[in-house]
Amino acid sequence: MTESPQTANAPTEVTEGTADAFLNPTDSLRHAPGPYFGEYGGRWMPESLIAALDELQDTFEKAKADPEFTAQVAELNRTYAGRPSLLTEAKRFAEHAGGVRVFLKREDLNHTGSHKINNVLGQALLAKRMGKTRVIAETGAGQHGVASATAAALMGLECVVYMGAEDCRRQALNVARMELLGATVVPVTSGSQTLKDAINEALRDWVANVDSTHYLLGTAAGAHPFPSMVRYFHEVIGEEAREQMLAETGKLPDAVCACIGGGSNAIGMFHGFLDDPGVALYGFEAGGDGVETGRHAATISLGRPGVLHGARSYLMQDDDGQTIESHSISAGLDYPGVGPEHAYLADIGRVSYAPITDAEAMDAFRVLCRSEGIIPAIETAHALAGAMKVGQRLAAEGGDPAEKIVLINLSGRGDKDVATAAEFFDLLPDDSAESDIGKDGEQL
């Protein structure tokens, strides 16, 4: 693990009574251990699962302190996932972002096509250390399911993936991908048949099979230790990016942008910059049809605190505390909750969160395709759209825009989204098979 020079060396330089907590290394926001982040987090879980959470936490703490484990993770990252991922300057895209300099952290180039691989490799290693022979996972669009199936195949673990029945139908190719990798995909028909119900079903499986099974949760949410553990495996994103930015430009970026569903790619990226007060951090949630329509997944922007899936955090819910269904063109952001550390970072104002509509995201999606030759995941397109606004704002502040820098976490590639995008931009003949797939993905 690379410590940033500032946090590693700075303590003696800080005078007592520093007003700004972010300048005081004793109040570092990095490596927050949980279970609580301010008033968020915790373990709002059935007693039946507490022993498994305790075992996981204990295994994780010991593994973090074990050089053999950290070497294993580093080796897999280097020789299997393809780390470090590249940092690419997006010069033509930058013209759409007020002319500031824009850099992309290329998590899309990782094996399986997104940041998800960082977490699944780490958790699969922990599953082996606990002597578990089976992993279960939830998935929305299929990205985390594919990543989990990949890690399970690599390490010889049985893998069962829970996926909403509707998502199975509209992401048939990702179901096939998981099955090619040896996983069993279970369509979930309970509740609203979406990602949150896939998590419910995975939890029900976990309660019944906890002796043999590790629940490989795909985002930095859920009960402790999942939020801080999933973040730990993604911290490599921010740490690499920080070093790469310093190497490429000699300074830190003015702003860092990421998309937020559960928030795992964002928390991994933000982590590298949390203690750099000059770096503004932005998380972009799914605004769906627009927050005024009620059809969105802008949990922090419009939700209120509650408990779901083991953590206290912001939540989309009605007056009675019943979870409300979220809506987004991006299946990966289509979740009515958010990781508890994001809820805390929002409350203390360290990170700014804002919604991006489907239309804004798809516009940014097309801009990146045509300006840089990179097809991003639609999830990631929300970060791109937000970054365009941030860049324009920075440029409007005056001075030479080329002196300002925006870093974007390009969390995933868009191969999985081609049918949805083609339908959105009306690129498919009406009678093509792909047209049907795209339409379903688009409308649901």
């Binding site: 039946s48 022993a51 509740g191 119900d197 029900r204 906890v210 819910q317 009675d320 505390g321 019943q322």
Partner: protein
């Protein structure tokens, strides 16, 4: 208000114990299929031998429930159940029977109404307290205070996986009884009751629990009889919900009578 009055759930269990049997505890989801039927079915349970009535609040994400209860609660929500109505249901039952009434609820609906406000209104409606499947004592500070203030029972769960340290802490935090989960799993009828249940009850008693009741997977009089031999109470849920679904209030009455026949201690 003084802290801790007498426990209604404990009194109900002790009455059964005095009669030489285990208490019978019956579960129904609120508002399935409507509010009045819930009240009628609960009264039918009480008239036919249930000592403690457990009314569940339908919730969008019931991770501890199997298919039968999931489907019933989804229907209750579709039929317009709102949390507000739980107090009408509890009051409707307690005004017509002496059986103790506990509310079983996932935690978010309580948190959203406000823990103290929920406790106040439950007390006002004559309710005995709460069973909380996804709230462990570690997170229950607000509920411990509110339940003390209003003299409500707080039934926490213990499981086959519960460590001795946690068993002790959970037994201490509980009032009324501790809910011994019979099996590592979710609600739903099973053909056999796991042998783990006996061990969980023994561990709870060993940790100082005066009353430990077994739930999850219990559906027949024979299973009730098996558990009554070592536990202070037996909890039946899914089988009653299925009976109500398939045969209405009359079926509830009949099944309750049958289950009650298994509660004898010998």
């Amino acid at each position: 208000m003084t802290t801790q009055t007498t426990s209604k759930a404990a009194a109900a269990i002790d009455r059964a114990r005095g009669a030489g049997r285990a208490a019978l505890i019956g579960y129904l989801p609120a508002g399935f299929p409507d509010v009045q039927t819930t009240i009628d079915a609960a009264l039918a349970m009480a008239e036919n031998g249930v000592d403690l009535i457990e009314i569940g609040i339908p919730y969008s994400d019931p991770v501890m429930d199997g298919q039968v209860i999931q489907e019933a609660t989804v229907q209750a929500l579709q039929n317009g159940f709102t949390v507000e109505k739980i107090f009408d249901i509890v009051a409707g039952i307690t005004s017509q029977t002496d059986a103790a009434v506990l509310v079983m609820t996932y935690w978010n609906p309580v948190m959203q109404l406000g823990v103290r406000e929920f406790a106040r209104r439950l007390h006002e409606a004559g309710g005995a307290g709460l069973i909380t499947p996804d709230l462990i004592p570690d997170e229950a500070g607000e509920w411990l205070a509110a339940s003390d203030e209003f003299g409500l029972d707080r039934v926490f769960l213990v499981a086959p996986s519960t460590s001795p340290e946690r068993m002790e802490r959970t037994v201490k935090a509980s009032r009324g009884f501790v809910y011994a989960v019979s099996i590592m799993g979710i609600t739903g009828a099973r053909t056999a009751v796991s042998s783990a249940a006996h061990a969980v009850v023994d561990a709870a008693h060993g940790a100082g629990a005066e009353r430990a009741c077994v739930g999850l997977g219990v559906s027949t009089a024979a299973q009730v009889k098996e558990i009554a031999a070592y536990a202070d109470g037996v909890i039946v849920g899914t089988a009653l919900v299925a009976a109500l679904r398939d045969g209405g209030v009359a079926a509830i009455a009949e099944l309750t009578k049958d289950l009650r026949s298994g509660t004898g201690k010998n």
